[in-house]
Assembly symmetry: D3
Homo-oligomer: 240 residues x 6
């Protein structure tokens, strides 16, 4: 089984980190390919960034190496519906993976993410994925995505927000709100005494499960293959 994990930003360091975390939980016989698109933003911290990350994701799915399943490794789950329409196998976003996984092990979770300006998108996904009743809060540590690995204070600030979520908001588990935090689960969980869920690793286990169940995206209705048509200008190559 071959799983493609797509880091939708263009940071190679983050792609490496994500790939390593994904491989650590993948089953025997599963190959994880971690990629990042050839076009798009250096990091995703706004609706503008997110919208412009989508063409690169779709390009990887159409033109990248063949895979049996896909994980979209950005917590906004950018382009998820479009990806499902065109991918050969199942596609899972890390926000849905992490939020739904948390509901199996606790009656509540809080999301701890990077910048405050992205909490609105996280809240929107809480509603879309039907986990409003489980979500205690969405908290931001105000560390930019690309400084997660370089800022020596980053881990401390993440931990501090997680602790506030547990102690002040009553969260019984934590969902990490950025693929760049994927390597922190065990350490944070040890400090906090509650389950800490990262969507990259959760997503890998979910798509592995889907492949083993023999289940892929429905080809009927909303996710049916898109009608073919012309594309113009810089996006001409996206015509199906």
């Amino acid at each position: 089984m071959r799983i493609m994990v797509i880091n939708p930003n263009t940071s190679a360091a983050m792609t490496t980190l994500i790939g390593g975390c994904a491989r650590a939980v993948a089953g025997q016989g599963t190959t994880v390919v971690a990629v990042s698109p050839s076009m798009g933003p250096a990091s995703i911290e706004s609706h503008y960034d997110e919208a412009l990350a989508v063409p690169g994701i779709l390009d990887e799915i159409r033109n990248g190496e063949p895979a049996d399943a896909y994980v979209l490794a950005c917590f906004g789950d950018p382009g998820l519906d479009a990806a499902r329409e065109i991918a050969r196998g199942p596609v899972v976003g890390i926000a849905e993976a992490a939020m739904r996984t948390a509901t199996y092990v606790a009656r509540s979770f809080s999301v701890v993410t990077t910048l405050g300006r992205t909490t609105g998108r996280a809240q929107e996904l809480v509603d879309r994925y039907g986990v409003r009743a489980y979500c205690r809060s969405v908290r931001a540590c105000e560390v930019p995505v690309l400084e997660l690995e370089t800022d020596p204070e980053a881990k401390k600030r993440i931990l501090a927000e997680c602790r506030r979520a547990v102690e002040q908001d009553g969260a019984e588990s934590i969902v990490l709100g950025c693929a760049g935090m994927a390597d922190l689960c065990a350490e944070l969980s040890g400090e906090l005494g509650v389950p800490v869920i990262d969507g990259v690793t959760a997503g890998v286990t979910i798509v592995e499960g889907l492949v083993r169940l023999g289940v892929s995206t429905s080809r009927v209705g909303e996710y049916a293959p898109p009608p073919r048509k012309q594309y113009q200008g810089a996006l001409e190559g996206f015509a199906l």
Copy 2:
């Protein structure tokens, strides 16, 4: 006052039609500029099309003629959040414009749109815009977007779905689910005996109102200007 109406597909005929409808309702002293992007899909009939229409929309807002307000003339309201982050004036999507306008004149509406595969997106917007309690149904006439003007049966099929919405679903008003239907309001309303709302024209009146109120998109929180950063590859020019 100058309002830019963006038809996110690349059909010049539809842009002309939309521009005419917009001008017909605009107030004295308001100039309507109807444009379509230089890149993107010929029509929007899937999540894939919608995602790939967004770069062209954002490009028009950043690099097109200056305007006081913007109307996004595709019923999926593609790129609405991203557009709000970067536009100089208020931005309204035609789905939100039409659905909210309907709630001022009836306790219920049905959406009548083009292809059945897009009804899921319309339903998602019904939830996002908080009009679930008003929405009786989302119906599709199964006429592709670009055949709305060319198929001699199109108007008849749209009317038939509207009638089913009124008679079978109890809709007290109709929301037209495609910018390409903007010219049909008066005729349909005459046939049906209920208000028929099109989002292009509704959107023009709404953004005119916002400009007259002196109100534009909040620069605080979710719609604050995006952090600057590098963009790679074919999207390099989108760096702010």
Copy 3:
């Protein structure tokens, strides 16, 4: 075009203030008539006041000067459904006008109103108008309606609540919860740095838009003209 703005309380000073604000945003060629009923409470600060303000509103609509559209200038939107059944043109309440307008320019708003005892009604309207996901809080400045213009501290207290809404509740815009605050938008917005929406002015732009769209209240279903019948006693004259 002729718009009737009905101040449902009997304070002439407030009617004058409201009329002035309404005229300031009305388009060229639009006449605004601001009236207050001949019967009813001096101000509306309870369900009791609100219920008893409705006959006067309905009387103005039936027996007042003819108009093309109506704005009900009390934040409880009293008698809105009844008014729609009998009015010749579209009717908009200022709570629905303000709340829905806020959703075009921000992902969140807080309502700042007069007395704490009216926040329950505002919360009920938040649900009715489907903007629960946008509403961060409903805050009261505890200034009675008729002291808004006379209490020299009033503006300061309103500003203080607005600031708490922005800073503590994360509101990205403010909805003013009383017609008597209609003249404060610009000043408050300047102080706060976020959009501040008043329903009187928002309502005027909305009904102007509806008239220009050629759309009025549906005559089918819930808002169809009421069945004729006898009325007894002091309300005898209300028989249709």
Copy 4:
């Protein structure tokens, strides 16, 4: 114990019918006083009628015979909030009484009411009272309120709608949507084989229970006594 049942329309025959049904379920030592206001509509079949029934209701509560508790015997629960602000004892509307009582004996109910135009108000109350998940449908038999007793076909048409609710909508109980149907419970239940709930009788048992519990309307917050103020014109006498 003295319970006032207020029939908000001015039909003496309906008041007599309602009073008789109420007395049949009242406990030993409970006196039921059935009244109808001196002002207002002959029957309530629109938002307009409902709004104009409220002054008469409030007048009965303020100036009628003293009572320990009140039942508002119109399925729109008109003036309920206002009545709670001023009444000496607890006040219950028949829609809330019937809908909540049904939830104790079945996982679902349908409302069967008079005219189709009133189903919107019933749906709104379904939401307000939090019973959306229990409500299968709101059906109208299209018999006007004042013909319930005189139309020989009325009972048959009500029964037919109840049967459709049970057989087609899966309703496990029936809520009767008009005080004028209060005498039909036993007969309909016998025919249908499911519980049939009328709000007048349910309301009497509920307010009796509240009085026995020693519980009345909270005097804190939303239902606190209204601020005193002047009233003008025909409503002058309503000043508290």
Copy 5:
């Protein structure tokens, strides 16, 4: 009329207390029988306890003295659906009884219960019973169930949480979250100045009302009598 009040834990002292409170509100001619099962947990403070209290409850209903109606006197309403399937008369749980009763006398309530770990179940019932919009908070005084009567500080801690609910959360009434608090209503209400509702007494008035209305659990659909079948092992005797 004979009402069985089932205390689902095996504490005889609590059964006596509950029985006394129930009798104090029962009408003339009503006999209250308070029982506790012969099997099950000493108190109910976890999902585990609650699940294992259910067989004893069902055993009382099947094999105990005949009764016209039943009140389940544990705030988790354990086994309510199963009890309705097999009981001869209507069955009400004290959480639903108290929460719904509170909505007749206030626009909001807070639940004050025993241990924090049970607040999740209370929140789940808030949703099931459709009273989310009324519920300001669920607060725990952290007194174990069996210490409610013996801990001299218990009443003080309950009062303190009630006061926080009123002052900090804006609760306009209080719902007591444990049958063991049934005797505290009057005293707490006197101290707090808001209605305080206990589900045992509320439940007694509700089932008395249902019996007087002649209404019992629907035998159609979800609460129809269970299909007969074999039971094995220690539960063999539960075969119907």
Copy 6:
């Protein structure tokens, strides 16, 4: 890794079937143990059956072979919360497993279950698991649980209901509503052309994933280990 799949009814044939399906999707190195309790109902087709299946489930978890994770193989997810409080590893119910898995591969699903009387419980779980927006319908084939394997018409009737769900309700995937249907996924999916999800197999992949992620039930808050206490009578042995 060792996964215990608990069939909560006492049918050995069904336990064998379930075990086989579970093993077919388990990863290399995973041992599946399929068990059924020593006490409880022959099948689960009512709230009564479900409540009485729980002691047997809890007994297996406490006293059965040690396991790293648990799957509860009854579509009502009986005892799920209680099981989580006491189990050594994560516990997943097949309704939550199937419903959430369906959301990864389609925007909508319908549940096809056994008896109509159990659809209410399924609807309740749809709400609890937050998948209301995805659920098109819950349909019953009216085949009793224990006849699924013996009735030669069973498969045909299940297929017929699935087809109605797809064609009439617009379901884009199917969730099978009984563990006894676990062996039908591939065949039904082949016939229908949409994904068909069974909770037993989905549940096995989910708990395997949780174990690989190193995540188990939170020990904080609602799922913390229950307080110790005495149990009486036939359930004495359940004291922790």
